[in-house]
Structure formats: C-alpha cells, structure tokens
C-alpha cells in the first residue's frame, strides 16, 4: 500500500519542483501580473479622483477586479509553452494520473502568480486607502480566492490552448465563472472595512476552493486531452 | 376581456408601448427560432438535389508486407 503512495508523492514533488524551477528561470511570467496589478491600481485614483474616503469605499471592489484580471492574464499562457514544445503530449502518456498532474500544474501556477499577489496585496490596498483593519481579511480572501481563480482559469486555458486566437475566448469562457469569487471576496473585504465579521464569506470562499480542488482537475484533464488531440 | 375597447388595450394606460414592444420582440424571436432552422434544412436538401454530392469516398487501402530488409526493397 505504501509504494503507490510513495510514488505519487514523489511524482507530485518532482512535478512541482520542475514547474517552480521553470518559473524561476523565467521570472517575467511572475512579475508581469504583479506589474499589471500595480499599473491598474495606479489608474483608479487618476480615473475616479484621489479623495481618500472615496477610494477607500471602492478599494475592495477595485482590488478584487484587478486581481481577477491579473489572474485571467496569467491563466492564458498557462499551458501554452507546454503545448507548443510537446511536453503536454508526454504528460498525457505518463503513467501517473492526469488528475494529479493537472493539480500540480495549477498549484505551481498559483504559487508563482496568486501567492505573490496575496503577499503584495496589503501594499496595493494601502495605496487605495483601505483601512488597516481590513488587511488580514483582504489577504485571507486573496489567499483563498486567487487559488479558486487559478483552478477555474486553468480549465479555460486547457480548453483553449490549441486554438490560435484563444485570448478573447478565454475571457468569455472564464469571466462568468469568476463572478462568485469576485462577489464573495470583495464582499468579505467590504465587510471587514466596515467593521463587520467577514468570516461567513471567507468560509464560503474556502468551500468554493474545496469544490474547485476536487472537481476542476477533471475538467482540466479532459480539456488537455481534447486540446492535444485537436492540435 | 379586461379592457373596455381596443384603444384601451393598445394604450394600456400608458404602458402599452412597453408591453407591445415586448410582444413584438417575443414574436420575432419565437418565429425566428422555428423558421430559421427549418428553412436552413429545406435549403440544404434543395442544394443536395441540385449538385448531388458524390458518395462518401472510401478510405485508401493499406498494405502490410512482411519483408526481410536485406533482401527486400
């Protein structure tokens, strides 16, 4: 019984290590979403005015919309390289279950895009005058929410990776599925900023994450099989 | 009938324009949903009759040879 577990663990470890190594050697993929986040956050005060009270009111929504867009941007390229160089074919042929491979790909993707966003979100939030008291809830909501976004985003990426013009299509496919995360996560931050208890929304986000972790890899695997076959 | 006259039914006390617009749009969409696919199928059959599509092509054959490479080829 222990041997298969050991081999699964070894596979998960090796796979995660490889993805992280690749991301480390190509840091632009990690930096770009963060830079995008910073740029768009800069646009909002210029667009709606610099009054701190007004910014603070809109901050939860702004932060989460930008996080959503950054995640969308990052999702698009998620499998592109692997598709083009043939790594996906080899992944499909590997004896390890594709479910686990999909999960590790997404986990690695989240570690290099969602997690940095979470860690830097207090900085962006401060720029937008979000009350300090709301920062822990913001970070927690980012932690849970960006993970859901990564999982859902990789479904779209898997389904569109073989298509020449996947860019607009992936937005159309994925943005409607992002909406519950936006609503509950921005709601949680808003509640926290107004001094209410945000734990129900955070629990709902955690529930969505559990559901996504359990189900999304099936859709990602199916999408990858279709894409490799159609290409 | 709820209304006293045709005029009253059309006006619906000022709301007629909204209600009848919705009725018109609904009618267009309902009719479109039924007519468009039916017409496309009919047109397809008509086209078939004109230029009579050839029978589906058979797959080209496959030959399996067992050869000793040194003597063969």
């Amino acid at each position: 019984m222990s041997a298969p577990y050991a081999s699964v663990n070894a596979f998960l470890g090796a796979s995660l290590k490889r993805q992280l190594l690749l991301a480390y050697r190509r840091p632009v993929d990690t930096i770009n979403p963060l830079l995008f986040f910073l740029l768009v956050v800069t646009l909002f005060p210029l667009g709606i005015g610099p009054e701190p009270a007004q910014l603070a009111e809109f901050a939860p929504g702004i932060l989460w919309i930008v996080a959503l867009l950054a995640s969308l941007m990052a999702a698009e390229g998620m499998f592109r390289q692997d598709y083009e160089d043939g790594s996906l074919e080899q992944l499909l042929l590997a004896p390890q279950p594709l479910y686990l491979a999909s999960l590790t790909y997404t986990a690695a993707h989240w570690l290099v895009t969602g997690l940095p966003l979470t860690l830097l979100s207090p900085l962006f939030a401060t720029m937008l005058q979000l009350p300090v008291a709301a920062l822990p809830v913001l970070m927690l909501s980012m932690l849970l929410g960006t993970a859901v976004l990564s999982l859902v985003g990789s479904i779209g990426a898997a389904l569109t990776v073989s298509l020449k013009r996947g860019g607009m299509l992936i937005s159309l496919i994925i943005v409607p599925l992002y909406i519950p995360v936006l609503i509950f996560a921005a709601g949680a931050v808003r509640f926290a900023a107004e001094g209410f208890d945000a734990s129900p929304q955070l629990l709902l986000l955690a529930g969505m994450l559990s559901l996504a972790v359990a189900l999304a890899p099936f859709a990602i695997s199916a999408g990858l099989r279709i894409s490799v076959d159609a290409g | 009938m709820y209304f006293d006259s045709l005029q009253a039914a059309l006006a619906m006390e000022g709301h007629g324009i909204y209600v009848w617009t919705v009725v018109a749009v609904s009618a267009v969409i309902c009719v479109g949903l039924l007519v468009l696919p039916a017409r496309s199928a009919r047109r397809f059959i008509a086209e078939l009759r004109v230029d009579d599509v050839p029978e589906a092509r058979a797959a080209p054959g496959v030959r399996i040879e067992e050869v000793n490479n040194a003597s063969g080829s």
């Binding site: 479904i155 389904l159 569109t160 073989s162 298509l163 013009r165 996947g166 299509l169 159309l172 496919i173 943005v175 409607p176 599925l177 909406i179 519950p180 609503i183 509950f184 709601g187 969505m208 189900l215 859709a219 199916a222 999408g223 279709i226 894409s227 076959d229 159609a230 | 009938m1 709820y2 209304f3 039914a9 619906m12 006390e13 000022g14 709301h15 007629g16 909204y18 209600v19 617009t21 919705v22 009725v23 749009v25 609904s26 969409i29 309902c30 479109g32 949903l33 039924l34 696919p37 039916a38 199928a41 397809f44 059959i45 078939l48 009759r49 009579d52 599509v53 050839p54 029978e55 589906a56």
Partner: protein, 245 residues
C-alpha cells in the same frame, strides 16, 4: 431499452421520429403561445402595484425559466455525449446553445423594457437580470468555443466539458448574485415576487411557461434535424431523402 437507446443514436431514425413529433408539437406550441398571450395580455386582471406593464411577465418569466432549463438540457446532453460517446447527444448539445441564448436574450430585453415603467430606467442591476446576463455570457462562451475549434468533434467535446463546468457553477453564481443584491439593495420591488399572485394571473403564466418549454423543444428538434442533414451529407439516408422529397 437498449434497442431504444441504440435507435436514439441513429440519425435517420431520429430524423424521422422528430418529424413526427414536430407535426403534432409545432401546431400545439403555436396554439398555446397565441392563447396564452391573448389571455395574459387582454383577459388577465391588472396588477395594482405595477399597472399594465406587469403583463410583460407573461413573456419575461417564461423566457427566463426556459433559458435556464435550456442550459441544463445542454449540459446534460454534453455529459451523455462524453460518457456514452453518443453522437446524438452531442448534436443536441450543440443545437440547444443558440436556442437557449436566444431565449436568454429575450429575457434580458423584456426585463430591460419592463424596467422603464417600473423603475424609470432601462437597466437596473437587479439580481434576476444580472443572473440572466451571466447566463447569456455562459451561452455565448459555449457557442464561441464551438466556433473556434476547426475539428468539430473536438469542438463538441470541449463544449461538453465547458457546459458541465457551467452547470456546476450556475447554482453558485445564482446564489452569489442573490447575496450580492441583498447586500447592496435591500428589498425593492422584485419582478418575480409571485407570492401573492392571484390565480387569474397565474394560470396564463403557467400556460405560457409550458408553451415556452414546447417552443424550446420544437426549436431544438428543428435545429437538430438541420444539423443531422449537414453531418449526414453524402450518406445514403440523406441522399435518398433528397431524391425522394
């Protein structure tokens, strides 16, 4: 049971049987639509809060209900096509999408027009309307994905996966939008507060909902027949159909 299942997968059989179903269902649908519309528009009593604009309900609600149900039909057909590799289910899935999208569009448009006399503006971010808008995007996503794939078999599979993902998400989306709405706009007039609806208003509404379900079925079958012909081009049954008809 199995022979039935087998027959369901056969295009000529489906084409024939759908023709027979339509011969009955199509006139019935038109009749129900006309009767329901006349009943609702001219004979049902007026709602005292909203006045006569309330009569839009006889189009808006059936369109919304069937548009949502249509997504489930599409997703379940997609699931069947993935699990049992049944071509007919894939055809049904592909053909349900534009019908559902058209009904969603009708629901949005009638909702917007209804908004003007009710709220004084054509667009209000009401929970129902917002959910319908998201449903519209979901439909468009499936249709766009189908168009984007050159290989139509791959397109069918990809759309089946996407519509299943959408189906899992729809309840979450609807609940989240409900919560969001209650948060931002506590209790104003809702379109579909039917709790106190008088039966003389409710009966034509139920008839219209039934009529729209039948309309969906008819449109789906008609679309499927057209698609079956195109897919079967060059096969014997389509050629004989062209020769005989």
């Amino acid at each position: 049971m199995w022979t039935w299942f087998h027959k369901l997968g056969s295009p000529p059989w489906m084409y024939r049987i759908s023709g027979r179903i339509l011969a009955v269902l199509l006139p019935l649908t038109v009749l129900m639509l006309v009767v329901g519309a006349v009943w609702g528009l001219l004979y049902a009593p007026m709602d005292f809060k909203q006045g006569n604009s309330f009569r839009i309900i006889y189009f808006h609600v059936p369109a919304s209900v069937v548009a949502l149900a249509g997504y489930y039909v599409m997703a379940i057909a997609g699931a069947v096509s993935l699990v049992w590799r049944m071509k007919m289910a894939e055809v049904a899935m592909k053909c349900a999408a534009p019908v559902g999208a058209a009904l969603t569009f009708l629901s949005l448009l009638s909702g917007a027009i209804w908004g003007k006399p009710t709220w004084g503006t054509y667009w209000v971010w009401d929970a129902r309307i917002t959910s319908m808008l998201i449903l519209f995007f979901l439909y468009l996503g499936v249709m766009a994905l189908y168009q984007a794939y050159e290989n139509k078999e791959a397109a069918g599979k990809a759309c089946a996966v996407l519509s299943l993902v959408g189906m899992v998400n729809i309840p979450i989306i609807y609940k989240s939008v409900d919560w969001w709405y209650s948060l931002h706009q506590p209790a104003t007039i809702k379109f579909t507060e039917e709790s106190a609806m008088h039966s003389s208003m409710l009966q034509p509404l139920l008839l219209m909902i039934l009529a729209f379900y039948c309309l969906f079925t008819c449109a789906l079958l008609l679309n499927m027949r057209s698609e079956l012909l195109r897919r079967g081009a060059g096969t014997g049954w389509v050629r004989s159909l062209a020769g005989a008809g």
